[in-house]
């Protein structure tokens, strides 16, 4: 079967010369899903935009050929290209919230695509002299059909709604409906689920699979997520710094990754099987576009690189069964010596094994408690009317209780909007809680004034989600690290005969060492660092005041997989070294599994299930936890039973009566509608809020 899309030697570059996409070739067959896998900045989105000829003004395609159905895409005049866009080849984007026109109704936006492309292929069934663009009734009918096809309930009403009235998942469904309007042969999906929560991601991926089966279109899926690739792709190409470094079928790639980079990517993923061991992080960062290494682009970060790799860029080498790789390990020179392939394989496995001690999970209650939170509530008033009276409360956090012993990690897990970040900030008193009790090392924090609170601040610090927003761009690293010490007058651990200033400088050097940065970094500004390095600085800043508890708010969600592994390893070793406690806020269950000792699952401001990692992630009881677990795409394809959650999380301003989860729960009973379930103990450390287990004794 010949390829539907053929890309040969595509080169796309910035006006000032940097090559963003460099000599890329691949083909996609009809009905096939082709995944383009890579970390941020590797050029995968620019490849997609090059195919659509939608590149920003400052970027242009320099050379190469793109064939879609025998049409030479790059040579088409603009008018003909408009026929292709949305007709033969449609595209959906990462941010459904920004990608829909906010001031046009859903129907209008779909109709636009229908008017341009909808009538054409309909004409093959009912030949008419003029392929009439759909108008009026026909268009509306077709829009409703499309919305129903992508699984939007109550489609006739949704047609007249605006994007802001829809949830993120719904918006992405609308985007898909819009793309399907032209009955494209190829759908380009640029990180279609990255901005969505896992349960919604599962819904959207399922939808993409279903549509593909029905219509037989091809799918070019661009993603950074190996799990998504494992679920969706037939063929995979791995991109690194503008190159495709490996291309293979999914089965081949997952069983025998050839390129050292691919191997490393697998090894860097946190996973249950290795929850005790440090992750095989890839050292360093993706090279910046204007400073690409002369030889192999991955050589500076590759532990198998030798002299040749630094001098000469490797050629494309084809292995058995159509697998291809761009690596000297497999080039002719090496193969003659008979060691290339073997060595690659063997090391691919070897990268995973590491002689680090396994942390043994032990019972929680043995440890003295450092932080005790009881019935924490954070409500935000809703004001309305002439006098702005309070008419309701957004119950962002509604009665959360938890306990963290010294030296342990508690993970707070939940989807966006469940209140986990608000809870973290309320613990630090960055947001004043409405009610409840927060006792840190025996001292009650709620109700303290600013001066009393300052005394307690040193014990508890926070690491924020976005390393680009959490460092002041106008301050040097040394100033950033010193700020907390100055404000809290932190005694320096090194101590002894030095002035305060010098002591602080020494402490800063120590901190930088601790987080794995060079001491010279302290004279530099944040913009000179990459995301991972910035997160290290942010960790050093928190450590500067010798805290006992770190609240980590999704510290790795803005980072690439390879860098995420570095930060997770760092957090883990710091915990052992300094006996730190962590409150680890995350939506990523794999990360939680790797790092945490105990897990609390939050849904709509309340904790629905708590217990040790083993309990919650392997013997989950609450239907929500189960759904959450089964929604995570696994790279080994090993799924727990498939639980798909319908619908979206309700608004915390107006939570459902009774159990908050019942409208989405497959096991909902009469009683769920009526009353919020109390805690039920499953075992000594494991409890759940669910009526399914209500019959047993209440804890």
């Amino acid at each position: 079967m010949s390829a539907l899309l053929k890309v040969e030697g595509l080169v796309t570059r910035l006006r000032n010369g940097a090559r963003i996409v460099d000599d890329i070739s691949f083909g996609i067959k009809a009905g096939e899903t082709f995944a383009l896998l890579g970390e941020s900045g590797c050029g995968k989105s620019m490849t997609a935009l090059s195919l659509m000829r939608l590149l920003p003004d400052s970027i242009h395609v320099e050379s190469g050929a793109v064939q879609l159905d025998d049409a030479d895409i790059l040579a088409l005049p603009e008018r003909a290209m408009r026929e292709v866009r949305g007709g033969k080849m449609a595209m959906i984007f990462q941010e459904p919230g920004l990608s829909l026109n906010p001031v046009m109704t859903v129907g209008e936006q779909i109709a636009e695509a229908l008017e341009l492309h909808g009538g054409r292929r309909g004409a093959t069934i009912l030949p008419s002299p003029q392929p009439s663009p759909l108008k009026g009734e026909g268009v509306e009918q077709r829009c409703i059909e499309l919305l129903q096809q992508v699984g939007i309930p109550d489609a006739p009403r949704r047609l007249h709604e605006y994007p802001f009235q829809l949830s993120g998942g719904m918006k992405q469904r609308v985007m898909i409906a819009m793309a399907l309007a032209g009955q494209p042969k190829l759908l380009v999906a640029d990180e279609p689920t990255t901005a969505l929560d896992v349960t919604i991601q599962a819904q959207v991926l399922q939808l993409l699979r279903d549509t593909q089966q029905q219509s037989g279109m091809s799918l070019l899926l661009i993603t950074h997520d190996l799990g998504v690739v494992a679920q969706m792709a037939h063929q995979v190409a791995v991109m690194y710094a503008g190159h495709i470094v490996e291309r293979a079928s999914r089965a081949q790639l997952f069983s025998h990754p050839a390129h050292p980079y691919t191997q490393k990517l697998f090894a860097a993923l946190p996973d249950t099987a290795r929850s005790g061991q440090p992750l095989a992080a890839i050292p360093g960062n993706v090279p910046p576009l204007h400073d690409i290494p002369k030889g192999c682009r991955f050589a500076p970060r590759c532990d198998k690189a030798w002299a040749l790799c630094h001098e000469q860029a490797p050629e494309w080498t084809t292995l058995e069964q159509g697998q291809g790789v761009r690596c000297h390990l497999y080039s002719e020179v090496r193969r003659e010596k008979g060691e290339g392939v073997e060595r690659g394989r063997e090391n691919g496995e070897g990268g995973r094994v590491d002689a680090a001690p396994r942390f043994s999970p032990s019972s929680f209650s043995l440890f003295p408690s450092l932080l005790q939170v009881e019935n924490l509530q954070v409500h935000f008033p809703i004001r309305k009317g002439i006098l702005q009276r309070v008419v309701g409360q957004v119950k962002a956090v509604d009665g959360v209780s938890l306990e963290i012993p010294a030296g342990r990690t508690l993970a707070l897990v939940g989807e966006s909007g469940c209140g986990k970040t608000t809870a973290g900030k309320a613990l630090l008193q960055l947001i004043r809680p409405t009610a409840g009790s927060v006792r840190f090392a025996g001292n009650e924090l709620i109700g303290l004034n600013a001066r009393q609170l300052r005394k307690q601040r040193a014990g508890m610090q926070m690491v924020f989600q976005d390393p680009y927003a959490s460092l002041n761009p106008k301050m040097r690293v040394a100033e950033i690290l010193q700020e907390g010490m100055d404000a809290l007058d932190t005694p320096s651990p090194s101590g002894g005969g030095l002035g305060v200033g010098e002591e602080r400088q020494l402490h800063i050097d120590e901190l930088l060492d601790q987080v794995g940065l060079a001491q010279a970094a302290k004279w530099r500004y944040p913009h000179e660092f990459s995301g991972g390095q910035r997160q290290r600085i942010a960790i050093a800043r928190a450590l500067a005041v010798n805290p006992k508890l770190l609240i980590c708010d999704e510290p790795t969600s803005a980072l690439d997989v390879s860098v995420q592994a570095q930060i997770l390893n760092l957090l883990k070793s710091l915990q052992q070294e300094l006996n730190l406690s962590y409150l680890f806020i995350s939506h990523n269950l794999a990360v939680v599994e790797y790092l945490a000792h105990e897990v609390c699952v939050m849904y709509l401001g309340c904790i629905v299930e708590r217990g040790s990692v083993q309990d919650v992630l392997h013997h989950a009881q609450h239907p929500y936890t189960r759904a959450l677990l089964s929604a995570v795409p696994r790279i080994d394809g090993r799924g727990v039973e498939v639980v798909r959650l319908p619908g979206d999380m309700p608004s915390p301003a107006n939570p459902p009566q009774g159990c908050h989860f019942y409208p989405r729960c497959a096991h909902a009973m009469e009683i769920c509608r009526a009353a919020y379930p109390g805690a039920t103990g499953i075992n000594a450390t494991h409890s759940v809020h669910c009526h399914l287990y209500g019959g047993e004794k209440k804890a």
């Binding site: 866009r85 949305g86 001031v103 109704t105 032209g182």
Partner: protein
């Protein structure tokens, strides 16, 4: 929506009181009622009696802000400030120093002001947006660069130059239209033509460039890429998607001006001898007629606040996300 409007209108009251206090202070800090009386009666032959009489006639014989002599509410009520301000809230502006009813004067002068301001506003808007759309359509080409350069040049030229130059060219060299003056009815067109043209010309540079910036900002957004990915032509993207979204920032700057059109343009009207509210204000300032200036300041503030409220309402029309709460 209704609740929102009521709240906004209630909020306007303290602002208007503040505006009044400010104008009041500005006049009376340096210029006591005695000075005013002297000024009005002529510096030369003025007796203390005459001053007292003038003050009594014009209602300036009370304390300025606080009446210690009066009882209860009168402490604030029986003062010049209260007496002169309270009636303004029902748009009774009293009499000017030359004895005319200010409210009636405003009513008659409003028409000529509008006759200039409305066409200037709408013709201007049309031209600026068209020009800006053209530049956006041809962005990053020589045409765009030349357009921007022209805009910068035009906005660097003093507005006085347009007025003086325009008056000179049109009236002296070409004898098209009268230099200045005004007449009612159909005759007004020939008097209005030149001021409108010059008014539009005066801000073509700055405005077109501003709109271009807005359009360019919109065109960089993700939904525009989606629209292009559908296969829409550049023109349709511009008109159906960009223009609609750009209305939000455009309205922010434009709607607030609409009510102020009633105030006329001080400059244009005094240059072209148009008997509108702008020239009325200028004359009053030169004559130091406190009553008129205060009335105009009050009117201006009321219209400005009306403009702000109108802006908010206009958002609900172009942006479905906005709900007035």
């Amino acid at each position: 929506m209704i609740a929102y409007l009521i709240r906004r209108i209630l909020y306007a009251i303290p602002i208007l009181i503040g505006v009044n206090l400010l104008t009041f202070a500005l006049f009376f800090v340096v210029n006591t009622p005695d000075d005013m009386a002297r000024m009005q009666l002529g510096i030369k032959r003025v007796t203390p009696d005459a001053i007292e009489k003038w003050k009594q006639q014009h209602g300036y014989d009370k304390p300025l802000l606080f009446n210690a002599m009066a009882e209860g509410a009168g402490k604030f009520g029986d003062t010049i400030f209260f007496q002169k301000s309270a009636s303004m809230f029902v748009f009774d502006f009293g009499y000017s120093d030359d004895g005319r009813n200010i409210s009636r004067e405003i009513a008659t002068r409003m028409m000529p002001s509008l006759a200039i301001a409305l066409p200037t506003f709408f013709v201007g808007l049309l031209i600026y947006i068209t020009f800006a759309l053209l530049m956006t359509l041809f962005r990053a080409t020589a045409l765009d660069i030349a357009g921007v350069a022209l805009c910068v040049l035009l906005m660097s030229v003093s507005g006085l130059f347009y007025i003086i130059g325009g008056q000179f060219m049109a009236s002296k060299l070409w004898h098209w239209v009268p230099i200045s003056g005004y007449a009612g009815g159909m005759d007004s067109i020939k008097f209005v033509l030149l001021p409108v043209l010059i008014g539009v010309m005066g801000s073509v540079g700055a405005s077109s460039r501003w709109y271009r910036t807005i359009f360019l900002e919109e065109i960089g957004k993700d939904y525009v890429r989606t629209a292009r990915a559908k296969g829409l032509s550049e023109l349709r993207v511009l008109f159906r998607h960009v223009l609609k979204n750009a209305m939000i920032p455009i309205l922010t700057g434009v709607v607030v001006v609409i009510p102020l059109l009633f105030m006329g343009s001080l400059l244009t009207e005094s240059f072209f001898g148009i008997p509108g509210l702008g020239s009325y204000t200028i004359d009053a300032i030169n004559a130091q007629d406190f009553g008129v200036v205060r009335a105009m300041v009050f009117l201006g503030s009321v219209l400005y606040i009306a403009g702000l409220i109108l802006t908010d309402i206009s958002y609900t029309i172009v942006d479905p996300r906005v709900r007035l709460q």
